[in-house]
């Protein structure tokens, strides 16, 4: 995360190399000190004292490792459902069909019938993000979405696909016309120099807001759980026993709800961006 933020600080104006380095160090230390539940790779990293190069590599890429665990699980689930499929679904197949049908209905409600082609992309995003959020509640695991790298990668995927959709639907000139605010009257043409930069900034701000929203929510939620668990242990520390009060219990239910809502918001906002890029002007006016 800190590596990723260094360019931002360079852009802001701290061009001196040392200042940027100091900022990066401070950020890295702050990220290390953030209260989090220990996960398997972190424990292995501490046990090996940073000596084993494989564990060091896994530790540096732990968000990728846990994201890989998620998609392997999802792929296995899909394989299970697909292997023994029948006309009258049962068990896993029934569950997955219900999920796909609900997501398909959600997308078609917003985009209309021609939006059915975006269902695989948006549905994958929803299921993937939901499972990554929930992984933080499993003991020994951690949410890949609580690292800015993961969320920014997802948001950039959405950004590129949305821009590509705009180019495909409008053509290059139509795309620029759309970005200029679809001017019709003389006044609107007069306002194009104002509208065009505003729209471009608006487009560029979308991946930032998408990724920061998901990252902030999941990080905040995980930190909250860890802080309350620490509090529960420290209350009973006078007994000198390895026990604690489960103070984080009510917040786990909140965390499950938040995981669902954040995944839904990510998928819904993607749907809205597609609808903005595929709606024709004749329909709007």
């Amino acid at each position: 995360m800190s590596n990723l933020l260094v360019p931002f600080f360079l852009l802001v104006g701290q061009t001196e190399h040392e200042t940027a380095q100091a900022t990066a160090d401070t950020l890295a230390r702050a990220a290390e000190q953030a209260p989090e539940f220990p996960n398997v790779i972190e424990i292995l990293h501490q046990l090996s004292h940073g000596q084993s190069s494989i564990i060091n590599l896994l530790f540096d890429y732990r968000a990728v490792v846990f994201a890989t665990i998620v998609w392997l699980l999802l792929g296995f689930l899909a394989f299970l459902a697909y292997r023994k499929r029948s006309l009258i679904p049962e068990g896993v197949q029934n569950l997955l069909e219900w999920v796909v049908e609900s997501l398909s209905n959600m997308v078609v409600n917003v985009l209309g019938e021609q939006g059915r082609r975006y269902v695989p992309f948006i549905g994958t995003l929803f299921i993937y993000i939901f499972c990554m959020n929930l992984l933080g509640l499993v003991p020994g695991m951690f949410s890949p979405t609580s690292k800015l790298n993961t969320t920014l990668a997802l948001a950039i995927c959405v950004f590129l696909y949305v821009q590509f959709t705009g180019l495909r639907n409008f053509g290059v000139l139509g795309y620029i016309y759309h970005l200029a605010g679809s001017p019709r009257s003389a006044v609107e043409w007069f306002l194009v120099p104002l509208n065009l930069p505003l729209h471009i900034i608006g487009e560029l701000a979308r991946p930032v807001s998408l990724s920061l929203r998901l990252f902030g929510n999941i990080t905040g939620e995980d930190m909250l759980l860890a802080i309350f668990a620490t509090l529960g242990v420290s209350i009973l520390s006078f007994t000198r026993l390895p026990i604690g009060l489960p103070l984080q219990l009510p917040f786990i239910f909140l965390a499950i709800l938040m995981s669902f809502v954040q995944a839904l918001v990510f998928a819904l906002l993607t749907t809205i961006y597609f609808s903005l890029m595929s709606s024709h002007d004749e329909e709007r006016h």
């Binding site: 902030g216 905040g220 819904l268």
Partner: protein
Amino acid sequence: MDPKTSVGFLLPLAVGIAAVGSALGLGRAVGAAMEAMGRQPEAADKIQTGMIIGAAFIEALTIYALVAVILIK
């Protein structure tokens, strides 16, 4: 005052102030959506979709404050 102490005091306060604004906005938005759903239960699905998107935008402002605080800490 020690700069670190003042930062320690002010950072939670910053999130608190951001949360007040978000809470007022969310209260209005969700209240209006509930009222609309009560008047037109058949349009509940569409209203709920719009409400969740709006709520996400409102809530994002507090999250920005939270992210800033986590990074500055």
